[in-house]
Amino acid sequence: MNTVKLVAVFAENRPGQAARITEILFRANINIRCITVASSGAFGVMKLLVNDPDLACRSLQKEGFAATLMDVLAVEMPDKPGALHTVAECLAAHQINLCNTTGFVANGRAILVIEVENPAQAGEVLSKQGLRVLSQKEALAV
């Protein structure tokens, strides 16, 4: 099953942290396609879909950041009303819980990025529903 890798990085919840992270990525010539930040009190976790997740992760770790790679699903949907509902309903029917979710629309294509506990299983379910689950390469080519 196709999955894509997100870079997750731990950061303290204070001014300047995102700037430090993005500077490191910029210097490594990393292109960011999608980003989410989840904060919880004194800290937050930034997750990034990037053109070279391995390099991005290594660069951040080298600078002392706690960073890791996570497998998530990138699902292409029609850019029209009810599309997300189809995905949600399909996952619900299989008792699959959505964790962190984000998405982006580019070049007329709508991509949903979802974290689930078992990406392989969720990917299969969504494929059967007729949705395209993108590979890393496909997701980055959008």
Partner: protein, 429 residues
Amino acid sequence: MFWNQEMETLERPALEALQLQRIQETLRRLERVPFYRERLRDTGVNAGDIKSATDLRRLPFTTAADLRENYPDGLLAVARDETLRLHTSSGTTGKPKALFFSRRDLDNAAELVARAFCMTGVTRSDVFQNMMSYGLFTGGLMMHYGAEKIGCLVIPSGPGTSERQLMLMQDFGTTVVHITPSYCFYFADFLDKKGINPRKDLSLRKAFVGAEPYTEETCRKIEAALGVDVYNSYGLTEMNGPGVAFDCEHKSGMHLWEDNFVLEIINPATGEPMKEGETGELVLTSINREAMPLLRYRTRDLTSLIPGSCRCGRTHRRIHRITGRSDDMLIVRGVNVFPQQIERVLMAMPQIGRNYVIQLEGLDDMTVKVELSPSAFDGEVGHLAQLQNQIAEKLRAEIWVRPKVDLVAAGSLPVGEGKAKRVIDNRSI
């Protein structure tokens, strides 16, 4: 009630004259200690120049570091043969402070404790259960000797288990206990679980609570929880141990035995004297000690002098309960916390990096900042929140205070030169 009414109520001029005489004696004794001989020579002040207790200010302080540097017996003022007892004060780092007592020193220490017991109304009919640790710590033995002096039945139970403490209390009708504030709460909880109402089921009347500073609020809580009168006890190994200052029956401040100690309250930063009533560091000179008198010892305990005289008639001045320590022990919400306890908990958790900082703010808010170990990061915010919770819970179990825990990035906390600055105390005293 008085143990030594004449001395306890000695008019101030006579008391001050006695102090001066004993200061002179003490300075003569200190001439036998090379450390002090040199220090005193450096100041150029002769014993004859000291004409009142105030003149002591011309002489140098003694610090805990001086005691450690002169370990084991560099500050001994008598021959080793003259010493009967050794006590140590546990240091959190390095060597302890070693204190020697001669026969007369032990007798005097017991006398001061006997005065303390008497002024709270304890008599020979009382049954005194000493729940403090015996051994090198002065809190156990010195109180024991004082209680024996006035003829109480003494039960040297030591800290022991609560089960056994309770059995002794029930079987021998304990009326007075000597206990730490933290153990009071623990024991009250224990009684609660056992379904024992101390007011009805036990004969307890008084608790001498000491060894750790605690607040007025804690005192009230202990009184409510155990159904006893709580008397505050102040002492330190360097000055005999317990019984240096003690609450009288009016519980309006602790009388400090000025025939044995000269007290000063100084600004801990500048060493200058504070005005009467202002909080500062307590400095004590032991003027009735043979084996190891100490000159202007910096106790690191913060307190203030209570102006005016006490209804009890004692002329020895009173100090407020210790409000803090310029030392490394923290008092958070009435509980004593050593940074080392926190360290122990944190360092046992693999998810945590090496550095941490304890921040105290506002009235009594404690935040522990810990570095997340990069290998423990899996990208899940939820797991990090759980980890924070888990750390807070483990700390609560260890230090009895549930701090706020903030995870920070590894390497983000300042690393000081040498000893790291682990504690940032921004509370207003």
